[in-house]
Subunit: 395 residues, 2 copies
């Protein structure tokens, strides 16, 4: 459903309530309450609720700029359309694992969608020590289904290329190209790290073989249009509870290398594994293994059952593709680990550690893990080899 278009203007709480009433069958006489719950850097997020019935919805509006650490730069509103469309496209293949979209409006750059406030952002919950027993199962499913079904292995080439054009997303991709693949590997102003990491960071900037591999991974990201990615699948883009998982915020969606989505998610789990110990750590390592197992099993089953590629039964072809995805996954995970530690956008998992010595030690571990994943991604051929590496680096 598309609502009547107007010229872009930032919503107020009053306007958001009026819009919500026109779009959703709230009970008669409902007295709606509206809260702006976004972080205000990229989007407004209005939660509109009828406290009596408990019914509610979310109106998310893209802002025409991005604010990060005080700086502000213009950013396309088209991302709201991409996000709404990607949510709907992905829900075709992974129903129940993304929020329902009720309406969208290109001009206003808004998406009206399911209120998920009964869930917690996975990153927040994980930092509090949550186990989220369904997390890896659900994300593995989400990845396997959305990435297989939007690839050349499942789609007629006309439809795949139509989608690749629809989801062309240069401005958001450039953020990734710069902040994940470039800036952290060079002495760039956008980097941000404690003075105690200076020597470690300089060693990265001066590590020729590492930079060569980062360059190759960036080239993959720039050129390989394999599937419709979420594009920013960290644990802050996931709502979770003990029994539910929902993937949100695909405004970075575009046609890119499959391993990028898998790698980003795994990297954010790896950060958690680095901050935990004992039984709690093992929960996360199990999630890491299970994510890959579920993803690769689902991808493989869909390939067998629904694949349309003429070569799908050619001996070793499916294995070749899965090996490529795995290698890419580790490389992209490595880049994410590094940028989340020394780049512009950090993760709370590490930054919120108050004990400075511990924080620096764990950040060094994250950097070391990232570098090893990038450099050894062709040797680490199984997910248990990755757990083995994490175990080794634990010491």
């Amino acid at each position: 459903m598309t609502i009547a278009s107007k010229q872009y203007e930032a919503l107020t709480e009053e306007k958001a309530i009026a819009l919500a009433q026109s779009l959703y069958p709230f009970p008669e006489g409902a007295e709606l309450v509206c809260r702006e719950i976004g972080d205000g850097n990229l989007n407004y997020v209005f939660q509109i609720k009828d406290p009596k019935s408990g019914k509610g919805l979310i109106i998310k509006q893209a802002l025409p700029y991005a604010k990060v650490v005080g700086e502000s730069w213009p950013l396309t509103l088209k991302r709201a359309t991409i996000e709404a469309n990607a949510l709907q496209k992905h829900s075709e293949f992974a129903p129940g694992l993304v929020p329902a979209v009720y309406a969208m409006d290109e001009e206003l750059a808004i998406t009206v969608m399911e209120d998920l406030s009964h869930l917690t952002i996975a990153r927040e919950g994980l930092i509090q020590g949550a186990a989220y027993p369904k997390l890896s199962e659900d994300i593995g499913e989400y990845l396997g289904r959305t990435l297989f079904h939007t690839s050349d292995f499942a789609l007629h080439p006309f439809e795949k290329k139509r989608l690749a054009v629809e989801y062309s997303n240069p401005e958001l991709c450039k953020i990734t190209e710069d902040l994940i693949f470039t800036d952290p590997f060079f002495n760039n102003d956008t980097n941000d790290y404690e003075p105690e990491l200076q020597a470690t960071v300089e060693a990265i900037w001066n590590n020729g073989p590492l930079k060569l591999e980062a360059a190759k991974l960036k080239f993959s990201f720039l050129t390989e249009a394999e599937a419709l990615l979420h594009g920013d699948l960290h644990t802050g883009s996931i709502f979770a509870s003990e029994s539910e998982t929902k993937v949100i915020d695909p405004e970075f969606a575009f046609y890119g290398p499959i391993g990028f989505d898998v790698g980003l998610f795994l990297a954010n789990l790896i950060v958690q594994s680095i901050t935990r110990s004992g039984e709690e750590r093992q929960v996360i390592v199990n999630h890491i293994e299970r994510t890959w197992e579920v993803f690769s099993t689902r991808f493989s089953e869909l390939w067998d059952r629904e694949g349309i590629e003429a070569y799908k039964d050619t001996a070793d072809y499916k294995e070749f593709i899965l090996e490529k995805i795995f290698r890419d996954t580790l490389g992209f995970a490595g880049c994410e680990l590094i940028r989340r530690t020394i780049g512009l956008a950090h993760v709370k998992d590490l930054d919120s550690i108050e004990d400075k010595n511990l924080r620096i030690r764990l950040k060094k571990k994250a950097l070391q893990t990232g570098q090893t994943l990038i450099l050894k991604r062709s040797e680490l051929t199984t997910i248990s080899a990755v757990s083995g590496l994490l175990e080794e680096l634990k010491q």
Copy 2:
């Protein structure tokens, strides 16, 4: 320049003359002569000339269907726009190596361009034994310049992605996906070969490792948006003389793997080398070597001088990219050799050989060369290793 649009209708010779007069400053009183010189399968090609002054031009009009061996299927007229735009885009970077475009019209699906009838289609000339001393130098330049300048190594990512959308070309790509990468490797109705090749062809269909490599090359073609390719750079898409070379017909242009353009051209030279012997053969082998040398030298110089990639000076990165292009080049060349021998669209170089035994022997050689290039593309790391292979297979 864009001429006034009308609804699509096929041009007649009279209408073509009227159009030419409205577009080009022919001398006063010129009595224009028009000939339709296309092969009638995909396009009309009207040559309009003033015999007195010798001045003339070409009006090429796309037909809304393709005819191949009696069959006819609808085919997008958008290809005329893609062709006209690609000619102009490529001429920005390789001036003098493509025909000048005087005008285009999207509705009529026509391109008005320089008359090159003083030149010969390179394939025809080569079959007659021409040496075309400038051919490899010019095509190497064309490839190096057009492919570098439209890649992520030269363009701002916004511009590269804008061009990738503009040149999205699903219908024409599908012809390549089917006829080059799929059908020849399976028992498909579109294949076409002499009964004497039956056993050789079946060996291809049953060669698992070969099909695995063909599948990988098809995947590259489907997913790797590296540069704005010509997309169909065989020797029939090149006009040549002793002193001039012009690349025509880029209606298959799209963002794809760089090695595809290089590989198609080399494959068509390799076919020539297979049909020749002695000194005449050496001329072609020299062209093969020279094409790669000029391409890689130009690409490398442009990288150093004009590259914008942050990693451009990272040790071994340029070499990695050139090695990838070379490996892809050989693989794509191998696919082209096979499909030009047993697929739907043959080459006159082989089909016109009247001595049947010789023709079958040379076709088997082409198939063997194609398979070896595909299977050994990671081992053949230099162009002289390729010449060595051709020398070996000569026997």
